[in-house]
Symmetry: C2
Subunit: 179 residues, 2 copies
DNA sequence: ACGGACATGTAAGCAGTTACATGATTGC
DNA sequence: GCAATCATGTAACTGCTTACATGTCCGT
């Protein structure tokens, strides 16, 4: 993020929350020690600024830091250990009442809808404000579209799955009634 | 997993690798201490078995354990902190040569294709062997289809993105040539 | 005889989070 | 005057991974 522009720790946190949060986030506490370490290693430099008595430490990337970032960006991305508590719970859906599984799916559908809407707000309100000459715009728009398309695909799968569960429920009910 | 059937630690590991690995995995070393703890807490019981001199400790869930699992399954799934090194690298694609971004996307496309094929093998070879009377089958098939649909959606996005990058590259080349 | 799968476990180390701690500035 | 946001940091804890350690059984 410092390769994009000089920032304070707090600003990195802010930027992360409104840009990469859906695929990468760091906890607030981790940022300041990390910046200190990076400066010690010569990958960033910093200068103090004051607004009245309020301190702000602005960090800037060095050539050594930029070299390392670019080398890392070129390296093949390593597999991230994906974890979805939602899918794990669904996987063991047979252990609970079908209605409860249904509720889980609906709750998840709501979350996905909210997520998609958030992306669409960024697409319509924030992205247009970035100048077309900004070389980052293309890539930010790409990761945004990734989020949107995955949400849509997940919505379709959820709707189908909800139907399947409902069908199953009806079958079970008629079986129970006739037995 | 013990709610589904009694298993040894090793078998849990095996089952995890061929069923939930794409959305949930635990490291090999974590399983044995965890089983010990669960037994101490009265959520599972165990009995030793021998095949010759080779020891196997089979764990079985208790009613208390089952109660807890079912309560947990009913609780709303908490957000998992998603991380995608691939997306993070793409987000900063402007910092490196477009050809290198292109290579990253193509490498990722290959990975997604392999993943999708793995799912389809399970769908065609393993799933049909599970009896339709097995109540877990429906849910296992659902999580499997989740994986397949997400892969397909990701493939489409990747193909589009590759085109966009190529277009950009051509524009840059003509600009460079004419300047 | 040897490699690979079966089978269980320990110990050290690290990465990351939660909670804590402090204080300034801005807007209502 | 108070709450929210701006702004930076520390310390304890914890959960997880890596590496290590041991031995059996089976197939070729």
């Amino acid at each position: 993020m410092l390769a994009e522009q000089p920032r304070s720790g707090y600003e990195i946190l802010q930027f992360m929350k409104q840009s990469t949060a859906h695929f990468w986030q760091e906890s607030d506490a981790s940022i300041y020690p990390m910046l200190k370490l990076l400066e010690k290693e010569g990958k960033v430099t910093s200068k103090q600024e004051f607004q009245g008595k309020r301190e702000r430490r602005i960090f800037e990337i060095t050539q050594a830091g930029l070299d390392e970032v670019q080398a890392w960006l070129t390296l093949p991305a390593q597999e991230d250990n994906r974890r979805s508590e939602f899918l794990l719970k669904l996987f063991f859906g047979a252990l609970i009442d079908p209605q409860k599984v249904h509720a889980q799916l609906q709750e998840h559908l709501k979350k996905v809808e909210v997520e998609k809407k958030n992306y669409q707000v960024i697409e319509k309100k924030i992205l247009p404000k970035i100048l077309d000459t900004n070389p980052h715009k293309l890539f930010w728009s790409m990761t945004l579209h990734y989020g949107i398309t995955q949400c849509i695909s997940e919505q379709h799968w959820l709707e189908k799955s909800l139907e399947v569960i409902q069908k199953r429920e009806k079958q079970n009910n008629t079986k129970t009634a006739s037995s």
